[in-house]
Symmetry: C2
Subunit: 261 residues, 2 copies
C-alpha cells in the first residue's frame, strides 16, 4: 500500500520544500521506494533535487502534463539520488496554468489521486510539496493524501494561517477524502537564541498541542539554503547538520504510524 | 498625482509584507499621505498593522468587497498610525475567493486600477502588498502600478523565480499598463556572516545589476518578526534597527524618482 503525505501551508517561506525533500530522502534512505511530487509552479523541489524545469517542460515530462495533457505519471518520474530509492515527479512554470484549467475539469480536486493510483504499489511513500496558496493544486494534494504535515516558522505571521488550513483540511475530509488526517505540525527555522521564537513555540503548543502532534523543532542552519543552491539534498550531503535528526525521526514516526494501521 | 508601487515576488517568505509596511510608513513619515493595499488573502499586512481581518470581513470592509461587492474603496480605508499619515485598505480570507471570481469579470486585471482612481488625488503614494503567486490578484496589482519593487532573499530558490516575474511584468506593460516599470530589486534578510548570502548577493548583481537598480541589502534582525507579532510597524517602534535606514533610503529614492518625472 502506498502512503501519501502532503506538506502544506499557505504561508510562504516556512520550509515546505526543504521538509518535503529531506523527509522524502529520509524515507528512501530507510529502504522504502519514495516519490516526491512537486505541486508548485515555482518548481523549487525540482530545482533542489538538481533537475532543470525548463528542459523537462520542453520534453513535456512534468506533473502539469500528467494532470492536464494525458502524459502517464510513470513516464515523468526521474531518479534523484545515488544513495537511496528516491524519485521525483517534477514541476515547471507550465503548472501555473493548471490553477485555471483545473476549474473546468469535473471532479477537479481528485485528478492527482487518480494519477497516483496509476502507479499501483510501485512506491511505499509519496511526499507532495505544495505551493504557498490554498488553490486547486493544493486541493489536489489534500484530495490525494493520507496525511498532512504542516511546517511553520515560529513567528506570528506564519502561525496565523494555521486555522484556515485546518478548516480546509476538515472540508476536504468531509467532502472528498475521508481518509485524510493531520500527521502533525513541524516548527522550522527555529532560532533558540531568541526569546521571540521560544515564546512562539510555547504558543504553538498551547494552541494546538492537545489536538495535534507537534514535532521537535528544526533549528536554523545555513546549510539548508546552501545545499538547495547546489541542487543537493541536505540530508544526503550533510547528515550531521543540526535538525537532520528531526527529519530522520519524522520519517521513523511516519513509518511506525503506517505500520500500526 | 498618486504614485502606485506594487511589492511583488511569487516566492514565499521573502519579506514582501515587511517591505510594504515599512516602506509605506517611511513614505508617510516624510509627510506624504500613503495608502497600503493588502492584496493577500493571508491578510499579513492587515495583521502587521494591528487590524483584525475577521472583524473587518464581517463588516464587509475589505479589499475583497471593494473589488467584487461594490463597496467603495474610501469606505474601507482605515488609519493605522498615530505618528504619520498612513492608511490601509485591509484584506481578509474572503479574498481567496477572488482568484476564481475575477476570471469571469471583463477586463479583470484592471479592476484595482479602476477602484484606486475613485480615490482621486487623496493619497500621494499607494503601496500594494502582493501574495506569493502570480495569480489574478497580483496581476491586478501590476495592472494598477507605476512601479514594481521586488524583494528577494539572497538564496538561490528565491532568486530562481525572478526571470518569470520580470517576463510577467513585460507582458503587463505590453498589454494593459504601458506605464509600469521596475523600481528595483531589494535583497532582504541578508546575513553578512555567511559566505552563502555574500555569494548570492554577488550573483544577484551579476545577473541583474546592469538592467535594474539593486538596493542595499536589509540585514537580518529579530525585531521584524517580533514587531509583526505585536501588530506594530518596525520602523515606527524601533527606527534605529539595522536595515531601517534602507527602508528610509528606499522611500527617499522613490520620492526623488517621482519628483523628477
Ligand atoms: N532550518 C532551516 N534553517 C535555515 N534556513 C532554512 C531552513 N529550512 C529552510 N530554510 C531556507 O529558507 C528558505 C525558505 O524555505 P523553503 O523554500 O523550503 O520554504 P517554502 O515554504 O517551501 O517556500 P514557498 O512558500 O515559496 O514554497 C529557503 O531559502 C531554505 O533554504
Ligand atoms: N530583515 C529581516 N530580518 C529578519 N526577519 C525578517 C526580515 N524581514 C522579514 N522578516 C521575517 O521573515 C518572515 C517572512 O517575511 P514576510 O512575511 O514579510 O514575507 P512575505 O514575502 O510577505 O511572505 P508571504 O510570501 O507569505 O507573503 C516574517 O516572519 C518576517 O517577520
Ligand atoms: Mg516551496
Ligand atoms: Mg506577505
Amino acid at each position: 500500500r502506498t502512503v501519501v503525505v502532503a506538506v502544506a501551508n499557505q504561508k510562504g517561506g516556512v520550509g515546505k520544500t526543504t521538509t518535503a525533500v529531506n523527509l522524502g530522502y529520509a524515507l528512501a534512505a530507510s529502504g522504502h521506494e519514495t516519490l516526491i511530487v512537486d505541486m508548485d509552479s515555482q518548481a523549487n523541489a525540482t530545482i533542489h533535487l538538481g533537475q532543470n524545469p525548463l528542459r523537462l517542460d520542453e520534453a513535456q515530462r512534468t506533473i502539469y502534463h500528467v494532470m492536464l495533457r494525458r502524459q502517464p505519471l510513470a513516464d515523468v518520474v526521474v531518479a534523484v539520488s545515488d544513495s537511496a530509492p528516491l524519485f521525483l515527479a517534477p514541476s515547471s512554470l507550465s503548472l501555473a496554468a493548471a490553477e485555471t484549467e483545473l476549474i473546468a475539469e469535473p471532479g477537479s480536486t481528485q485528478i492527482l489521486a487518480e494519477k497516483l493510483k496509476s502507479l499501483g504499489g510501485r512506491f511505499r511513500f509519496v511526499v507532495i510539496d505544495c505551493a504557498p496558496q490554498l488553490g486547486q493544486l493544493t486541493m489536489n494534494a489534500l484530495g490525494a493524501a493520507d496525511y498532512v504535515l504542516v511546517p511553520t516558522q515560529t513567528a506570528a505571521l506564519s502561525m496565523m494561517g494555521i486555522p484556515q488550513l485546518l478548516s480546509t483540511i476538515d472540508k476536504i475530509q468531509d467532502r472528498v477524502n475521508p481518509g485524510l488526517s493531520v500527521f502533525g505540525i513541524l516548527p522550522t527555522m527555529f532560532d533558540s537564541r531568541t526569546s521571540q521564537d521560544k515564546e512562539s513555540l510555547e504558543e504553538l503548543h498551547a494552541l494546538y498541542g492537545e489536538r495535534y502532534r507537534i514535532f521537535p523543532e528544526v533549528g536554523q542552519a545555513t546549510i539548508y539554503p546552501r545545499s538547495a543552491a547546489a541542487g543537493r539534498i541536505t540530508l544526503e550531503v550533510s547528515p550531521d547538520t543540526r535538525g537532520m535528526e528531526i527529519y530522520v525521526e519524522l520519517a521513523k514516526s511516519l513509518i511506525d504510524t503506517v505500520a500500526r494501521e
